[in-house]
Symmetry: C2
Subunit: 258 residues, 2 copies
DNA sequence: CGTGTGATTGATTCTTGTCAACTATAGTGG
DNA sequence: CCACTATAGTTGACAAGAATCAATCACACG
């Protein structure tokens, strides 16, 4: 085994095998050779500062990105100029699929905190995927999951009250943090109240009040962007419109009554 | 040229070249041979009656479908049991991509009126696509467009008033009817007020009132499910929150005032 | 010609948006 | 080290919009 072989293996481990992209390629039964091929087109991009943009609305689809560290939001700007947050992207999640439809990005991707990404030239990816069936399958899966996430997002917006939407949002975040192996009972939100509001289709004041209500109900503890989930069951119940959760959350749904 | 050749060509024209699937395969520069291959796995399914289901929640992903005639809705049923309409599907549009994420359908697809579909075994499709680059590309595109549609749907739900949502919905419908080469100024809605409400995140009464308001403003004429668009510019303006459209719609945004 | 479903309209209540003031926090420069 | 400032978040009062409950209307169907 030559020196360069060792270095290559180390590089592979660092750049793909160990990272978020597991989700994209590793479970698909890819050989070491195929992994190397995928890795050869993958680029580790320089870190991004808070508020830096990964791509702009209208940009041609060159690369898809995988968040490595930090967090991102993708926003779409309406004709009237107001932003709506299409999605938040945590480490390991794909960014840039919004351009699949017509080859141009519909959204802007913005780093919420200092972050870093891997970038994958999209044409190279599809090219390679076409002769690695497992990768092809996995790519479909990842795209499909992004569709599912959008549908979950929609479910949050449809005929739900502010505190229910917020509870759903927090539960979704918990789930994703758990996948990342991070604590999901105590965490720090990377996004502002305004971002959450633009994601949930609410006014930012309403988001603030919803936080307050969940706190009053003893379900979470809020201090700015620091969140502590005190009662996950009650939070889940609240997310689904149940007013009096069985185990705890002493008065979910009746803050001022009584 | 033998008799069977003629029949085959006629069959091709009837089954693919002439149909909605143009969008999926034809523009991608597919050869006649490749078209034949695609056509060989395509099945024309028996017509569906109104309210018949194409697939249920939880069904394994066997086939994707293309609506040929009629119209469909895909609904997702929340834990609490209420339906939300994820999307409407007009002729030429793909149904069933909701199962891409984990191989099982998240939604139920229901015929809104008597309808018919083509079905494509999904594993065969991806298999064929893997050696027809143009088809592969086109498949990505179609999936991407469905993502885009979901995002447009979300834009309808976020911080828009009832009549704005309805106006956006009607504009979207117009666009799709135009693609189909059908009249977009006079048409019949295939879905009930309740379906529209579940799609727009409103109560059905609110949808009814929103129709009334657009009619009062002289923008559309409503008679049950029959819609006539009297002023498309005003409808578009209304869809984007502009209260007094330049050309007409004499009092959009002030039904009871004055 | 009744019957049932789908659609409209009305009255009322509740939620949320809006405007505004206020508080807390982090970052900056003296 | 502290005051100053800008930004983010909270809270309150009020009004507008939509949900809800309920009654009525229109239409297709047997």
């Amino acid at each position: 085994m030559s020196q360069s072989d060792v270095v290559d293996l180390a590089r592979l481990r660092r750049s793909c095998a160990h990272c978020s992209l597991q989700e994209l390629c590793l479970p698909a039964g890819i050989t070491g050779e195929e992994l190397a091929e995928l890795d050869s087109i993958m680029r580790r991009r320089r870190p991004l500062n808070r508020n830096e943009r990964l791509f702009h609305h209208g940009d041609a689809l060159n690369c898809v990105f995988v968040a490595r560290e930090g967090a991102f939001k993708t926003i779409s700007i309406s004709r009237e100029g107001d932003e709506t947050v299409v999605g938040f992207h945590m480490p390991g999640e794909l960014i840039g699929l919004d351009a699949l439809g017509d080859g141009h990005h519909r959204c802007e991707a913005i780093a919420l905190v200092d972050s870093s990404v891997c970038e994958i030239p999209f044409d190279r990816l599809t090219e390679i995927a076409s002769h690695i069936p497992g990768l092809q399958f996995q790519l479909m899966r990842v795209i499909g999951q992004s569709v599912s996430r959008d549908q979950d997002h929609m479910a949050m917006l449809l005929r739900r009250q502010a505190h229910e939407r917020l509870a759903m949002f927090l539960m979704g975040l918990r789930e994703r943090l758990e996948i990342l192996g991070q604590r999901s009972d105590v965490f720090r939100l990377p996004m502002s109240r305004e971002d959450i509001a633009a994601y949930l289709g609410l006014a930012l004041e309403t988001v603030s009040r919803a936080f307050g209500r969940l706190q009053d109900d003893g379900i979470i503890h809020v201090h700015g962007r620091s969140i502590e989930v005190l009662n996950a069951d009650a939070l889940d119940a609240c997310a689904h419109g149940e007013q009096t959760p069985p185990s705890a959350g002493r008065r979910c749904g009746s803050r001022t009554q009584g």
